[in-house]
């Protein structure tokens, strides 16, 4: 790599970090306003026009707050935990192609993009998905270490819950991602995005994987209804009970950046990344509208963020046993089943619509079978 290339990557990384943290600040604002609207309230609207300066006010307040450390805390780990959370959350975004240049792939298909050609992606590595899964699974360390080093029993319970939850749902998350990746035949995010250009999006071809991924992603980011590690009502604030000021804000940032990242992954893998719609580049009348753009990508991310907030406004928190049952007895078997179907399909070279048809009919079959089985049980045992 030349010096120029390194500088280019560094500048891109810095920009992405700044954009992500700004997005975090305004996500807190958007979330508060949206949840307020869901509950027939107005939400924060006093700081600046429409309350738009609220994140700034919050940030200043958190910066100047006293940063308490409990007497029973382990100082080094206590301070390192929020940093781990945030660093992991920011790092995982580096492999996401926000915008890409398809001509680069036309020239040298299958090979990684040279740095100057991937327009808005820090690193186009050929095992991007693997890298992302590995990095996001490190996020559990921030939470577990933070909860443990606080020297508070509630924090520890939050941390233990979190570790169990993240480990359980990571399996389903990875297995759900595998099916579309098998169809693409690559672990590179930019390859996945380019693959969907001329075809139906993978979210349509793999409806079950899409759904499973969404559920597991909500659990991975510790968002409602899977927010057991925080669980305000039972555990104070869970793993970050003992954190105040900017240290607490770091955990908060990590949660929101992780939300943005999983939304970006879902967009790239299942909703066609920066493409406007399937086959956009070959459609007529589209001369004045770009067929691929970071704007479409951000709009799709915004949609997922809205669903996150919508879910939070709708569902109560799961009980711990329900959480474990969903993870191990529902999501994981379904993801493996989907994987098996996909494997057969890849070998038989099905089209996207065939994939969707087979998956949906298998679901329908299982549904009918379950209903029949239940009726027979009722008849047998009254």
């Amino acid at each position: 790599m030349t010096v120029l290339e390194v500088a280019l990557v560094a500048a891109r990384a810095l920009t992405t970090a700044v954009v992500l943290l700004t997005a975090f600040a305004y996500m807190t604002y958007t979330e508060r306003r949206l949840v307020a609207v869901f509950q027939w309230r107005i939400g924060p609207n006093r700081a600046g026009p429409f309350g738009l300066l609220q994140p700034l006010a919050d940030g200043l307040k958190l910066l100047f707050k006293e940063q308490l450390m409990p007497a029973g805390a382990r100082p080094f780990i206590y301070l390192a935990a929020p940093c781990i959370s945030l660093i992991v959350a920011l790092t995982s975004f580096s492999v996401i192609p926000v915008q890409l240049d398809p001509s680069a792939f036309a020239q040298q298909p299958g090979s990684p993009n040279p740095p100057e050609r991937h327009l808005w992606q820090i690193a186009d590595i050929n095992v991007g998905v693997l890298f992302l899964l590995g990095i996001t699974s490190l996020a559990v360390y921030g939470i577990v270490l933070g909860g443990w080093s606080s020297g508070n029993k509630y924090s520890l319970i939050g941390a233990v819950r979190s570790s169990a939850q993240m480990v359980s749902y990571e399996l389903a998350l990875g297995a759900a991602l595998l099916s579309p990746l098998m169809m693409v035949g690559s672990l590179s995010f930019s390859q996945v995005a380019v693959y969907q250009e001329g075809q139906l999006w993978l979210g349509i071809a793999q409806p079950m994987a899409f759904l499973l991924f969404c559920i597991a992603a909500v659990a991975e980011t510790n968002r409602a209804p899977f927010d057991l590690p925080e669980a305000e009502q039972e555990l104070g604030a869970g793993f970050h009970t003992e954190y105040s000021g900017m240290r607490f804000a770091l955990f908060f940032m990590a949660e929101y950046v992780a939300m943005i990242t999983v939304s970006a992954v879902a967009t790239t893998v299942f909703l066609g990344g920066p493409w406007l719609f399937p086959g956009a580049s070959r459609a007529p009348l589209m001369g004045w509208l770009p067929t691929y753009s970071a704007i479409y990508f951000l709009l799709k991310i915004a949609f997922f963020m809205f669903v996150f907030i919508w879910l939070r406004a709708t569902l109560p928190r799961f009980r711990y046993d329900q959480l474990m049952r969903i993870g191990w007895q529902v999501l994981l078997p379904l993801a493996l089943l989907n994987l098996a179907i996909t494997a057969v399909g890849v070998v038989l070279d099905w089209t996207h619509l065939q994939f969707m048809g087979v998956v949906l009919s298998v679901v329908l079959l299982l549904y009918a079978f379950g209903k029949l089985n239940r009726r027979r049980e009722v008849e047998a045992h009254g």
Binding site: A36, V37, W40, I42, L315, L334, V363, L366, Y367
Partner: protein, 209 residues
């Protein structure tokens, strides 16, 4: 599997319900700019009233102090001077303190008052920076010179029956709730139009037991 699908359908129903609520108008009142219209008889801060000639209605009888369940009222009464009486009665309230932090805004004082001197008005924006600022003295409570109102006791909700000519229950023998005077307090258990009979000894004892 069938349960999973059923649960997903239930999830969809729940999501659609919350989405409908997303489209509802907010019910929030933006308080300092936009105030809620309170019922006319809302019990807020106390006001001491005057007659139209400027004399105070309060005669310093201490009935409100006596009936106050929270002990929020403190009165020191003094004899009126012959030349320039402050009130219509023999005495007037030299000191009339109401502790707004103790007051429970029950309205017993205005019901007990025989001269309608104290009423609870609609001012519910009661906040202060110190305890002292919420200890109301007579000059804070008294309406300004030249003003003579009856306050919230003028309003009725629902309206009193038109047929009631004399509103003093002790004279008509009926209680319709249309006059809060000392005579009305304690007769509120009578039904509309019922003659108030002196209770018999036996009944009184039975109630006590």
């Amino acid at each position: 599997m069938d349960r999973v699908v059923d649960d997903l359908i239930a999830l969809g129903k729940g999501m659609s319900i919350t989405f409908k609520n997303l489209l509802e108008k907010p019910v929030t009142k933006q308080y300092p700019e936009e105030k809620r219209v309170v019922p006319k008889r809302t019990r807020g801060r106390h006001v001491l009233h005057r007659y139209s000639d400027g004399q105070e209605r309060c005669v310093g009888c201490l009935l409100c102090q006596g009936t106050c369940p929270a002990g929020a009222i403190y009165i020191e009464a003094e004899e009126n001077s012959k030349e320039s009486p402050t009130s219509k009665g023999e005495r007037f309230a030299k000191v009339f303190d109401v502790d707004l932090l103790r007051c429970i805004y029950c309205g017993h004082c205005e019901m007990a008052c025989p001269t309608n001197a104290i009423t609870l008005e609609n001012n519910t924006a009661l906040a202060g920076y110190s305890r002292d600022s919420l200890l109301m003295h007579k000059e804070d409570l008294l309406e300004p010179m030249g003003q003579s109102t009856l306050g919230t006791t003028e309003y009725w909700d629902p309206k009193p029956p038109e047929t009631v000519a004399d509103r003093v229950p002790a004279q008509t023998g009926t209680f319709d709730g249309s006059a809060t005077s000392a005579a009305a307090v304690g007769r509120g258990d009578l039904k509309l139009g019922q003659k108030p009979l002196p209770p018999k000894r036996g009944e009184e004892e039975a109630q006590d037991a």
